[in-house]
């Protein structure tokens, strides 16, 4: 009995305090939309400190109740506020500490009429209409490390999942989860999706695109359009832009100056013509969005350590752009084996740069097998020549029958003697 009396008293206090702070409450909510990126927007930071103190001082046990009433503005996404009327009555009438109400009351009307709402009694009867709006559910966690907790309650997240966005990947990106929670599908996301479709990203790629780069949803549409216009001004065709954007999702987050700098970097560093530079970045657009330091280092490794000429490097890079983003260690090891063990000169390596993309273990195994059979002959001037391309690119079965002229069983037996 005593508890019930206390509960009533607390609810009255809450009501009184809410009225007292009513003036600043909506303002805080409006400011929330300006700082949408912060995670705190999702937490009920609108809780006035004085009230917090009061609750701590007054009654520890009723804390979840008051927090519940505060978290409503945050959990109702489109800014509509629950009316304090139905809110308070739900707490007492339903005898549920954790209650959440969803209201379709227009927020504007609410702000204007804030002071006119008469103080409602906790025991007041509510109508059927109002009762219908009350959905009693466990409270959403105020803080969470995963989007799992919110996906069933957020229209936006649900739609993104249906679009094919992997939320488990997205939440690993820094602050991406907070960004998605503050966005509204109809208002913020739709326009970006339409924009991406205009650029030429395929429908079935949208999900994986947004999984890789969720930040584009928070980007300004005009800035994105300027960047596409810049690419168009650089004489990239529409299909090429589409290919570049879908292969390198972060491309459109780079400012025009930065894109310009990077295009210039590849042109100067490799000494390629404009047309060839364009071709290079179209084929491997992640060169533009990745770090430039490893690219510089790889060029140095090719030039100084591996001893390729400048025009040879141009040829290699133009044929296999991937070599610029490969790991230096792997490049060195592969070259060391090809050149020093297999005795392949630089000019043949330049002809078949794709060997640098294949696994060293694969090259080793096949070379040793050919050595064992006495067929390891990589000089094009001599008979029974085996090109490096054939050595690395063919699947095992074809390699055995066509190149090594042996059965796959023999190859497997040989591999077990290594």
């Amino acid at each position: 009995m005593k508890m019930a009396l206390w509960a009533r008293q607390v609810s009255r206090w809450c009501c009184w305090l809410k009225r007292a702070h009513g003036a600043e409450f909506p303002q805080r909510l409006r400011s929330r939309s300006n700082t949408t990126r912060t995670y705190h927007a999702f937490c009920p930071l609108a809780l006035p400190p004085s009230r917090n103190d009061f609750l701590l001082w007054k009654l520890q046990t009723y804390r979840p109740l008051s927090v519940g009433s505060c978290s409503q503005p945050a959990s109702s996404k489109d800014g509509s506020l629950a009316s304090p009327d139905s809110n308070l009555s739900s707490q007492v009438n339903q005898k549920q500490e954790k209650a959440e109400t969803l209201s379709d009351l227009n927020a504007k009307i609410l702000y204007e009429d804030w002071d006119d709402i008469p103080p409602s009694s906790a025991l007041e009867e509510i109508s059927e209409e109002e009762a219908m709006r009350i959905i009693a559910e466990p409270l959403l966690p105020l803080k969470s490390s995963t989007l799992r907790d919110y996906v069933d309650h957020s229209e936006t997240l649900a739609k993104l999942v249906h679009l094919g966005v992997d939320l488990s990947q997205v939440e690993k990106h820094q602050k991406a989860g907070q960004l998605l929670l503050t966005l509204d599908f109809e208002k913020d996301i739709r326009k970006i999706l339409l924009f991406l479709k205009d650029v030429g990203v395929e429908d079935n790629q949208l999900g994986s695109f947004l999984t890789k780069n969720p930040y584009i949803l928070g980007e300004d549409l005009e800035a994105l359009e300027t960047r596409v216009a810049y690419l168009k001004s650089k004489k990239f065709g529409k299909a090429e832009i589409a290919q570049m954007v879908s292969r390198a999702p972060y491309l459109l987050l780079f400012s025009v100056e930065r894109l310009d700098n990077r295009l210039g970097f590849f042109k100067n560093e490799l000494g390629l013509s404009v047309r060839k530079t364009k071709d290079l970045v179209i084929r491997l657009p992640r060169l533009l969005t990745g770090k430039l330091e490893p690219v510089k280092e790889n060029i140095q490794v090719c030039q100084i350590e591996l001893g390729f000429q400048r025009n040879e490097i141009q040829h290699i890079v133009f044929k296999t752009p991937k070599i610029l983003t490969a790991s230096k260690k792997r490049l060195r090891q592969t070259f060391d084996y090809l050149h020093n063990v297999m005795g392949i000169p630089h000019d043949i390596l330049t002809q078949f740069p794709q060997v640098f993309n294949s696994k060293l273990l694969r090259i080793k195994e096949r070379h040793l097998f050919l050595m064992f059979l006495g067929r390891a002959q990589y000089d094009p001037a001599q008979p029974s020549y085996i090109s490096l391309d054939q050595l690395v690119s063919l699947p095992d079965e074809v390699f055995c029958t066509e190149i090594a002229k042996a059965s796959i069983q023999d190859f497997e037996k040989f591999l077990k003697t290594l």
């Binding site: 219908m132 996906v151 999942v161 273990l361 195994e365 497997e412 591999l415 077990k416 003697t417």
Partner: protein, 321 residues
């Protein structure tokens, strides 16, 4: 435990792979794990759990409790594959007797409850067989052919007979060590029976012991040995090659260490890199199951249930008295 793992679609048991030279064993394990996880996660997801939601719909005038709301069963999005992430992220996969990066050969791996079998197999102290390649005329710091060269020597005086004499000496001294560490009184019937079955071996930790060593190939300057041993490391085998070189008044480096048998797992059981997929691994586990079980029972006796049972009766007797 095994049943639970099987219910979740996970393979469990022991299998062997062929580790290529130049790759560390944990990279092999990691590669296997990623391949298995990819296959396991690609399997069709379970149908999603449904929960009841009251969705605002067309007002139902039939007189339901809440007019305007329609109860509907919708899938729980929180359990969607795209929200939870992949179902399996990690596999319980342990390696048996390790192989260092330069060595190659049979590497035994355990999945799920296979890890327990791995521990039991380890307690069996079974012998392993290696083929070890050597090259006379050189000595290096780490006894392998890629190490830093220390000296060069002549080797023309070495003959197969001289080599085999040294091997016999090595085997003899190791045989004495074997008898010493196996803690069996040699003058008993029990020792005789064990010796007949060929089961005399140390059942506790001991220094490396070579049980059999013989020359497979001898073409100067190269030679190849077959070594059966216990409690060895690959580096120890390289050192043996080095010492053989010194004993023959020359020097030798080890060109290859290849394990062709680890306990009951032979070269034929080992899976090559091209066969590292779920189906082959499951087949390999099934094929080896019986072999492993019989070997464990032969050495350690039947499963501990009898021991547990005995302990239980003892407790019961103690309670009664």
């Amino acid at each position: 435990m095994a049943a639970a793992a099987a219910a979740r679609g996970l393979p469990a048991g022991l299998f062997a792979v062929y580790k290529p030279p130049g790759v560390a064993w944990d990279r092999v394990r990691g590669a296997l794990e990623t391949r298995l996880l990819r296959e396991l996660n690609a399997a069709a997801p379970r149908p999603p759990r449904l929960h009841v939601r009251f969705l605002p719909g067309a007002a139902d005038d039939g007189g339901g409790a809440a007019p305007g709301l329609v109860a509907a069963r919708v899938p729980v999005l929180a359990e969607h594959r795209l929200v939870t992430g992949p179902r399996f992220r990690r596999l319980k996969m342990g390696a048996g007797h390790r192989l260092d990066a330069k060595a190659s050969g049979v590497l035994v791996l355990g999945l799920g409850h296979g890890n327990k079998l791995l521990a039991r197999l380890h307690a069996c102290h079974l012998t392993k067989v290696y083929t070890v390649g050597g090259l006379f005329g050189k000595a290096t710091e780490d006894f392998s052919d890629t190490g830093k060269l220390v000296e060069k020597t002549t080797f023309d005086h070495i003959t197969r007979e001289k080599l085999e004499r040294i091997l016999a000496v090595i085997q003899g001294t190791n045989h004495k060590a074997l008898l010493m560490h196996s803690n069996i009184d040699m003058k008993t019937q029990e020792a005789y029976e064990l010796a007949v079955k060929g089961l005399i071996r140390p059942m506790v930790k001991s220094p490396p012991i070579i049980t059999v060593i013989r020359c497979l190939q001898f073409t100067l300057p190269e030679f190849q040995l077959e070594i059966h041993c216990l409690h060895e490391t690959q580096q120890y085998l390289r050192k043996i090659v080095h010492e053989i070189g010194l004993e023959l008044k020359s020097s030798a480096v080890c060109t290859q260490v290849r394990r062709i048998r680890d306990g009951v797992f032979t070269l034929d059981d080992a899976l090559l890199r091209t066969h590292w997929n779920l189906q082959s691994i499951q087949n390999a586990i099934r094929d080896c199951q019986l072999k492993v079980k019989t070997e464990i029972e032969k050495t350690l006796g039947p499963r501990d249930r009898s021991v547990l049972h005995k302990a239980d009766t003892e407790v019961a007797q103690a309670a009664d008295s």
